[in-house]
Symmetry: C2
Subunit: 321 residues, 2 copies
């Protein structure tokens, strides 16, 4: 099959071996996929992953291992990217995204979705309603990661919230936070990106003076360690700081300042797919405005060049569609 | 001034005395007002209130008592309906809607908004952005009461929620709950009302069989004591039951069942106006579909007849507009 592979260099292979499904798994024919910052980081050596890239996708189930999963055949699906063992204490405690035995598609010991086919456990699949076209369904994964903030934290309608970083994740998080009724401010460097969410009732600032009071909730998603300092300067005592950035290397911080001000720090990663699909179905999130370019899978290398470029927000890959 | 007064009977008075503002208060020229179930209940004797009815309104500030409040003059506003003392322990603890010395417009010792003018403390006012027309701004008060649920409770995007009662309040609450990403089911008796929220991704049922599992969150807003029994039969153990119904008389319930199943019962009344205004400004709540009739204030008695009628959802009064 055709696949976009990273093995130290990025290349399109035409004869990549098709995935073989194991017990409980489904083979999914990929229709469309999205390029994430993590994909870009992997091509710079992040996580030392070699294999088929890609974890944001929508596709159609073409094969299942178990007779009782036949109802999934020919259904259009998105999928939770962490393939958990389902048997360990963490899985039994209903925290499969933290399963110590998990593999992660396109990221950790599991071939990804920038290919004609990808395999995933059936329990990871969520059916996509007909009203959500492929190009929106691809956003289920990053949207789920944004929704995870609402799953972890009680954000009150009267809260003042701040998102730092106007990348793909920051823009999606602003759209999720605005649903709570809370005041939402986005701080970033790109007024043209800020304008996308300003028309949805989000305030955009390129800089903010620390003030008395400060923000109740600050979401750090700049992708670098500077964001944390900014976050600390703008959060109120006893406020909650959500960490979304993942980046290579160590971070040096004045941790005692967080103790003195009694800041609640919450790490946040993958989230629930079903609510993300519901929000797309209810048309409460506008993802169309974030799609800035699309390429065929055979032009995957050019797609990555575009995704690295400053002008693009989300670059998508057409696979079997 | 013209006013719709209840003094045992409902009538329009043309020469009702204008309100006199006291320290910290504003005089508001009412533009439009909405009839609530509480108004209907009052004409049946509820709370034994006599005076000008009405607490859902939008108007323009025409007079203020203090020099420092002059910036409010000529601003279009909605207003929190509880006039608190601002000095007691409850007010100092930032719970003014529970101030023991409070009066409440159109409900408790304070003339209401079905009149050409109404008075309120300036601290109760919230400016209405130009993008929200009068007929939507009038919904700020009941929408704030719906938003109060999100202020009190962490509803998770993965929760299964149920609203019992398809009246005005139930329909608004469904629209607020859908923003959380949670599954939302409305149980009611009127499929034509259910249809209004079904197209927004809310499931509508006229009856639900108790099942294993049950709902994580149940909101009871039927306006009668039968709703509580239904709620108990459909909530899961350790689930949260939000009580929105207020009605005359005592309720007999098997309270031990709530202990055995460890149900969390949360009473819920008035809510924050700023988030309600933000949600209207962001066009996340469709209130237009609920306005089923409007009358001039001089036809206020006919408006109440219409509001008592089965076919109407929200009846509005044009005052100075």
């Amino acid at each position: 099959m055709r696949a976009l592979v990273f093995d130290g260099a990025l290349k399109v292979e035409e004869q990549h071996k098709e995935p073989q499904i194991g017990p409980g798994e489904a083979l999914i024919e990929v229709r469309r996929a999205g390029i994430c910052n993590t994909d870009l980081e992997i091509t710079r050596g992040y996580l030392n992953f070699h294999g088929v890239l890609g974890h944001e996708f929508v596709g159609v189930v073409r094969e299942v291992a178990s007779q009782e999963d036949k109802t999934w055949l020919n259904k259009r699906v998105v999928g939770e990217i962490n393939a958990a063992c389902g048997r360990c204490a963490t899985c039994r405690a209903n925290r499969p995204t933290h399963c110590p035995n998990r593999t992660t598609i396109g990221i950790d010991r599991h071939d990804g979705a920038f290919a004609e086919f990808v395999r995933l456990p059936v329990v990871n699949l969520v059916e996509v309603p007909a009203s959500i076209p492929d190009e929106r369904a691809v956003f289920a994964e990053p949207l789920a990661a944004s929704v995870q903030i609402l799953e972890q934290l009680h954000i009150k309608p009267t809260d003042r919230t701040l998102v730092i970083g106007d990348g793909k994740m920051g823009l999606l998080i602003c759209q999720v936070l605005r649903l709570t009724g809370a005041e939402v401010t986005l701080m970033g460097r790109h007024p043209e990106k800020g304008a996308l969410v300003e028309r949805q009732g989000v305030l955009f600032r390129t800089s903010i003076e620390p003030e008395k009071g400060g923000f109740d909730v600050v979401v750090e998603c700049t992708g670098n360690s500077e964001g944390l300092k900014t976050a600390k300067s703008l959060i109120r005592p006893r406020g909650t700081l959500i960490l979304k950035s993942t980046y290579h290397g160590q971070t040096t911080i004045p941790l005692s300042d967080f103790v003195v001000d009694e800041i609640n720090i919450v790490g946040s990663r993958c989230g629930p797919f079903e609510p993300a699909i519901r929000l797309l179905e209810r048309r409460l999130i506008n993802v169309d405005q974030f799609i800035s370019a699309e390429f065929s899978l055979k032009d995957g290398v050019a797609a990555f060049d575009a995704a690295f470029g400053k002008g693009n927000i989300k670059v998508q890959l057409r696979v079997n569609s």
